[in-house]
Symmetry: C2
Subunit: 577 residues, 2 copies
């Protein structure tokens, strides 16, 4: 176990060289997904030896990132492979314990960066469970038969309905503070205060009480929705699942589609996917993600279903998600992600119109929701985000969200024709690529809200809603650099005399700044306007947790996280800040 929270990550288990976010049910070691008609049961039965890193065991259904990667995968499969499922029951496969939360030895030995990224991903997974309920009508019942501690209860908090067995010993608890001197940082405090609206003094008591709360008090204090005697528990859970299924809005007919393994090749230089390429410039600390546009959309919804996970918008969303997660967790030295694209923007617009035309089709809806979540993942990625909009690019509609998600967008403007040659620049014309253009579609005005509840364009034009109306009027037009700059859609339009130098200087400067400063800056500037429970989790709760993860009282050699389980009491610096 590393003594230094800044030290390199501990070794991955089983000779792995990177954290992989791709899995499938046949490879799960910790979860069992069972489908019975319109009810899915997701059973947590952690294999204590199936750890992501070396050096700890996942006792008592505790989890590490590897366990959560399987959970996230299972939820995606419920969306795409099992559209007939109307309710999900989360249960434990182990007696007397639902889930003990994040594994403490894993946390104690993890680098600061891994702790932060682990919390971010697990938060995203729980938000995904809530999105599944809110937007796809698939509600979750959490059936707690045993103890749900820390992250275990935080997982329960993501459910729509929490059932607790009333057996005199089963409890819910958030013992992070008294036990480990850290926060219930996977949404726990925010969901207790803002989702379940637990009264603050009750919440204070609950979150400072190691042993947790059970039975009647758990119900009275709004910590659970139902307490049920042990003898009636299974029956009550089944009945509740039937009730929830009966009133679900999820009404997909037809079979699902298979989420086939991604086409992916890792090389020293980057990662090659079917529809995108990641290239690393390690000296410049840049990752360039080039997204490739599509050819014409299919003729019908049936043809879309037949394409399945090869359907371009779905394939690209999954690949982009995987690429972003890979960079987040495995490529810590990358300062900035540069988004480029290549293809015909008119075809991207055609795909958006195809999805709009099929908005009643379950698969089209799920693809839109997936893009929404992937774009939120981009927003929340603590790397500088830059869009370079060049000739031959296709930042249109859904793909235009990437420049809007970026901290800055640069667009190459055609050089004014020289009086001598009567031609534009070599870059603009000589290489036969069409000049850079961006285009908006209806999807930019509602399909992809950020975690603050607003679209990226609404967030962008917060100062003046008339600017938003002005760009709305330009939908489905090819907008050149000058127009895009005038409308406020890009940061700078540059001609090719300035392009190379300006972009290079900017990216070099960016890579020279303190990564921590940039993380804080971007976390503040990216989310103007209103706050939601989701944005509060990533702003308030996460920021405080990250602070605490840096404090010696938690992560120092004598801190509570390090000393847990050693028999030695932690030593605290008792001064308040």
């Amino acid at each position: 176990m590393s003594a230094d929270t800044h030290a390199a990550e501990r070794p991955l288990a089983n000779g792995r060289t990177r954290i992989d976010f791709q899995t499938e049910p046949s490879r799960y070691r910790h979860w069992k997904l069972a489908i019975d008609g319109d009810v899915a049961t997701l059973l947590l039965d952690v294999d204590e030896n199936g750890t992501l890193f070396e050096g700890y065991e996942l006792k008592l259904n505790s989890y590490d990132l590897g366990v959560d990667i399987e959970l996230a995968d299972a939820i995606e499969r419920l969306r795409f492979e099992h559209p007939q499922v109307r309710v999900m029951v989360l249960r434990s496969g182990k007696p007397r314990v639902f889930c003990a939360g994040a594994n403490i030895r894993m946390l104690a030995g993890a680098s600061h960066a891994h702790k932060v990224n682990f919390c971010k991903f697990t938060n995203e997974t729980r938000n995904g469970i809530e999105d599944l309920s809110e937007n796809s009508g698939l509600q979750t019942i959490c059936a707690i038969n045993g103890s749900a501690a820390g992250g275990g209860y935080e997982l329960a908090l993501a459910a729509d309905h929490i059932m607790l067995v009333d057996d005199g010993s089963s409890t819910v608890s958030l013992p992070e503070l008294p036990l480990l001197a850290v926060l219930p940082g996977t949404g726990g405090l925010t969901r207790v205060a803002d989702k379940r609206k637990v009264r603050r003094d009750h919440a204070d008591f609950f979150c400072t009480t190691e042993e947790g709360v059970k039975g009647r008090r758990a119900l009275d204090w709004r910590l659970v929705d139902e307490v049920v005697p042990g003898s009636k528990f299974d029956q009550a859970v089944a009945a509740r699942a039937q009730e929830f299924a009966a009133r679900s809005r999820r009404g997909a007919a037809g079979p699902g589609i298979a989420l086939r393994p991604l086409s992916r090749t890792f090389t020293a230089a980057g990662v090659e996917y079917g529809s995108l390429t990641v290239e690393f410039d390690r000296k410049g600390r840049l990752a360039t993600i080039t997204l490739r546009g599509p050819v014409a959309p299919p003729a019908s919804a049936e043809a879309m279903v037949a394409l399945g996970s090869d359907f371009w918008p779905l394939a690209l969303a999954r690949e982009l998600d995987d690429a972003i997660l890979h960079i987040r967790l495995n490529e810590l030295d990358i300062a900035a992600i540069v988004f480029k694209s290549s293809g015909d923007p008119a075809e991207v617009v055609a795909y958006d119109k195809f999805l709009d035309a099929n908005v009643e089709h379950w698969l089209a809806r799920e693809i839109r929701h997936l893009w929404k979540r992937v774009l939120k993942r981009v927003d929340l990625t603590s790397r500088s985000l830059v869009a370079l909009i060049e000739p031959g690019s296709c930042f249109a509609g859904t793909l235009a969200e990437l420049p809007f998600a970026s901290d800055r967008a640069y667009m190459l403007a055609p050089t004014l024709p020289s009086p001598a040659s009567g031609e534009g620049s070599a870059r603009g014309a000589g290489d036969n690529k069409p000049p850079a253009a961006i285009a908006l579609t209806a999807a930019n005005f509602g399909a992809y809200p950020m975690s603050n509840g607003l679209t990226r364009l609404a967030s962008r034009f917060l100062a003046n809603p008339a600017d938003l109306e002005a760009v709305k009027a330009e939908r489905e037009k090819m907008l050149d650099a000058e127009t895009a700059q005038r409308l406020g859609l890009i940061t700078f339009a540059l001609d090719d005399i300035d392009w190379d130098d300006e972009v290079r200087v900017f990216l070099e400067e960016r890579a020279s700044f303190s990564p921590d400063g940039l993380t804080g800056l971007e976390a503040n500037l990216r989310f103007a306007g209103p706050e939601t429970m989701e944005s509060k989790i990533f702003a308030r709760l996460t920021a405080w947790q990250n602070w605490i993860f840096q404090r010696p009282n938690a992560t120092g050699e004598e801190g509570a996280l390090k000393r847990y389980g050693t028999g030695q009491k932690p030593v605290f610096d008792m001064r308040r800040v």
Copy 2:
């Protein structure tokens, strides 16, 4: 300069033994307050030798906490001593520089706790400037003739109207990130994004550009409201001041009242004020603040004015504010603040009714606004807050906000009469104090919003608005412990058999927890519900800044804050988290 950010604070200058928040214009070293009819000019002309701590000079109108204490004082005096003032002009008394922001050497040498508390107080002061505009109709014009950098521009951001001289060199800038690897943490990022609604890519450019932005671009990007040629600047500022004064809602007649020096005695055991006592239990790490209730209110508004700063609600608010600040900055080992009170709750109710009856009187209004701000200061104090409601206490109306602001409130219930004696407990009856009662007034339902924009009771009963209506119906009744518990106004009612042990165990346990964990927990649980710009400053921005203040890239020996001005470049760990 201390090498260790956890080290003890550097010595205070001039042999001071504590930071004192009391001052008055004749003692100002950094500000000049000039009143001309309905226009006040607050001139920043920092005495570079007038530092709070040893070891640095306040060059270029840079500031430390001492400078901000004077600013906060000046603003209070504008409220109470100069009710005829309708507009405030903030200017610099130095050529070519408005303000260089927080002094970097001061920050580099300050303990983590001092940095955090310094930022909190300066944020509160700037929020106070905005409150003065929003609720008292006294608007602020910031006239920038020179450079406004970092905290200098953040001060400008608190104004209603920012005027920048257009002389080719005067700039506004937030160079914290490129220069120091920290954030513009005194509201800067939040006000840029949420108050001025600067487009995020413009904000990104602005906040990563050391040299700042001037002239036309500053205006186009919404960073200032007006740029004026140097030759016309003074004239334009004067004209704008007259315009703002003419449309001000502030319409007080009559002279102000003098804010006389607080009656205060510091002893080893605590602090004795006119209407409250602070007692330290250093072994138990507790500060007990006992507030004393009043006798009957004055007969008329004129009598209130005649009492001036001796008028009980005003005197108590000022004393409570001073006590809280003293504990925050000078008593870092205190884990919990215990609120007690003594007096007749009926008289506290009578004062609230007196203030309500005089709601049109400027002084009554300003007193209410002062209480609002003091109570917000309590909410934001990172110590555990506990109310002990005992026989003889007077937690009624305005004072009942303290139990509602507390993390927990314990109330002593009379012991059931014993069949043998026919009497209640000794504590309830034998000492002749009336049994503990709390009472609500109209003031609890609107006068004192928290930084989330809701009253403490509305925040408390977020889950069920009917509970709020139920307590509203009980206004002006004396509520015993059982009733208060049933209504959800207190955490626990305890009889005197349990009281001593339960309270003692709770306070001991509280003092044993990690102070950092408690800070994070309380910051999350105290502010359920909506967010405002103010709450975003204290949650999102402050939490990220605190995190960065712990990161070696900023505060380590090779970090940017430590190396600033040494000629050595900072060395960064370039890994992103």
